[in-house]
């Protein structure tokens, strides 16, 4: 009986699913932005060019049948037929993943603005938002000036007792390579492997202006309009959530300034360790 049971465990289901591990590479320019500078009163008085991995937004990666270089002003996955005239064709990804995801970082002003794998600790978050001209404030509008206050708020908000419970701080995803570009490891689990498929993706670059800071640090792939609402006494806000179908209809999410895959990452073997280059910057139609 035991032999029979052990034989059953060896049954090969022939499911063509593969867990891929690869590397996504972003050019240095993708992490380089023009940021405002401020006078002693906090008013914008100039600009500075800054290269910082915290300026890298969430990266969405998918495996597709092929690349369509004609339908958009950037390389885009091949699409199925258009069913609804207001929506592009479904790109039918074979699998997908992301490098970094949206996480609610304890204060309402940070909804849809914080991505995992970009910040080392609380002070790192506070320093970044000061840098882009949107200092973190509490629910009463008072600026948060030190990490310990921030930590206390997070422990209170999430009923947490350790920093390990905070997904938005910790190890950073990206490291600088020898060419001065930035790269990170990605894992794309349960991907339906088809020889010749293409791995492609895009980075949603944060809105950033050196002149007006109102929208600095926001993303187009995150929405505070739907669901995920919190009602805490007189505070009503949304924690924010990623828009759906970002890999099925990527053109609905890609906006000017985002970095897009070059479409040259062809996967021929289930043992491949694909390298996806997001080297194309979409600069508008």
């Amino acid at each position: 009986m035991l032999i029979l049971l052990s034989a059953l465990a060896c049954y090969q289901e022939n499911i063509p699913e593969v867990d891929f591990t690869g590397t996504v590479v972003l050019p240095r320019a993708a992490a380089t932005r023009l940021l405002p500078t401020f006078d002693a009163d906090g008013n914008v008085n100039g600009s500075q060019e800054v290269t910082d991995t915290r300026l890298i937004g969430p990266i969405f990666l998918g495996a597709y049948a092929g690349i369509d270089n004609a339908s958009f002003a950037y390389p885009h996955p091949s699409m199925g037929p258009i069913v609804d005239v207001s929506v592009p064709g479904n790109a039918f990804p074979y699998g997908g993943t992301s490098v970094g995801r949206y996480d609610f970082a304890c204060y309402d002003v940070l909804g849809c603005k914080v991505v995992t794998g970009r910040f080392t600790d609380y002070d790192d978050v506070l320093e970044y938002f000061r840098l882009i001209g949107r200092p973190v404030t509490d629910f009463d509008g008072t600026e948060i000036e030190n990490g310990s206050t921030y930590q206390q708020q997070c422990y209170y908000y999430y009923y947490a007792t350790s920093d390990e419970e905070m997904s938005f701080i910790g190890a950073e995803d990206f490291t600088e390579n020898s060419a001065g570009d930035f790269e990170a490891t990605f894992h794309m689990p349960h991907t339906t492997f088809t020889p010749g498929m293409v791995m492609w993706g895009f980075m949603d670059a944060p809105m950033m202006s050196a002149l007006t800071t109102d929208n600095n640090g926001t993303f187009t792939t995150c929405s505070t309009a739907d669901d995920n609402y919190k009602d805490d006494y007189n505070n009503t806000y949304s924690e924010g959530e990623q828009v759906p179908d970002a890999l099925n209809y990527p053109s609905l999410s890609i906006t000017t300034g985002d970095w897009v895959g070059d479409g040259n990452t062809v996967v021929e073997s289930a043992d491949d360790a694909p390298v996806v280059n997001l080297s194309f910057q979409y600069t508008g139609e």
Binding site: A65, G66, S78, G80, P81, V83, D84, V85, N90, F92, Y94, T192, T194, P195, G196, M197
Partner: protein, 295 residues
């Protein structure tokens, strides 16, 4: 020996008695072409469903000899270039009895659920419909083969039924009207098919009356089809008898008046040969206990 005995127990009934029985109602009906009714004409006409027989059609469907076959009906309309609102109301009327002993607007009697059917809508370009009208039901699913030879299912159904809160892809259920909006943008004059798929037939006679209305609503949705706050159930009366008055006419009218009228109607007609309501078996006293009413 015990195995043989147990296997015999499994043969003590066939389950056939729970199958809907074929009747004079067709298992798959084709209602032909239905003309989208201008919603302003509908409103100015007093929302009288019997005044627009080209746009509001009453019909019946029944069971198939083969219980594995999907039953239902099809209707066809031409695209207007704008939005088309589809409303279907299946036999007869359904309410949920309130267990609470007090409270305004509560239904005291149980609905007779054996007179209730359920039918759902899909709609899309006729070219994508896989069924044969009047013969076999189909759907709007198709396959797309990508450039690597991998097949993906594509759904060409353009009729997404919505619920009370506007939630998409909702099925209202037993005897309750369904509605959806189909965009015919850039497809004026192109033929669309509505596939009405039977979800369940009434248990009492295995045939279901229903009414379907097709409205030209321009750029709007279905809101103008209904009077403010009106229950969709009250749009097409007598759908259970294919438009004629019958034994559910009274309870449907009472339902559209409100719970008080339903309670009174039920009290009067409990002794009928085919009563529209059931006596409640228990109610709730508000203090945490169920009260046996002794019915």
């Amino acid at each position: 020996m015990s195995l043989v005995f147990l296997s015999l127990l499994g043969c003590d009934h066939t389950g056939f008695e729970f199958r809907p029985a074929p009747s004079d109602a067709p298992p798959v009906a084709d209602l032909g072409e239905v003309v989208p009714l201008d919603v302003e004409e509908w409103k100015s006409g007093g929302r009288d469903p019997f005044a627009f027989p080209e746009s509001i059609v009453y019909a019946e469907v029944g069971a198939d000899e083969n219980p594995g076959n999907v039953t239902g009906a099809t209707a066809h309309f031409r695209g207007t270039g704008g939005n088309v609102c589809l409303v279907v109301d299946p036999e007869a009327v359904y309410w949920a009895r309130s267990l609470a002993a007090t409270g305004a607007g509560r239904y005291e009697y149980d609905d007779d659920f054996t007179d209730d059917g359920d039918i759902d809508m899909d709609a899309g370009l006729t070219a994508f419909y896989t069924g044969s009208p009047g013969v076999q039901m189909g759907d709007f699913k198709s396959a797309y083969t990508d450039e690597s030879g991998v097949d993906h299912e594509i759904e060409f159904n353009a009729c997404i039924q919505t619920g009370y809160q506007g939630a998409a892809d909702v099925h209202a259920g037993r005897a309750t009207a369904e509605q959806c909006v189909v965009s015919t943008d850039q497809q004026a004059g192109t033929e669309f098919t509505v596939a009405l798929r039977t979800f369940s037939l009434p248990l009492n006679d295995s045939k279901m009356g229903f009414a379907i209305g097709v409205f030209d609503v321009g750029d709007a949705k279905c809101d103008g089809v209904f009077e403010n706050g009106a229950d969709a159930e009250c749009l097409f009366p007598n759908e259970g008898n294919a438009g004629a008055e019958g034994d559910r006419t009274g309870i449907e009218a009472a339902y559209c008046e409100g719970a008080k009228a339903v309670n009174e109607y039920c009290a009067e007609h409990l002794g009928d040969e085919n009563p529209p309501c059931n006596e409640p078996t228990e109610t709730y006293d508000g203090g945490g206990a169920s009260v046996d009413t002794g019915a």
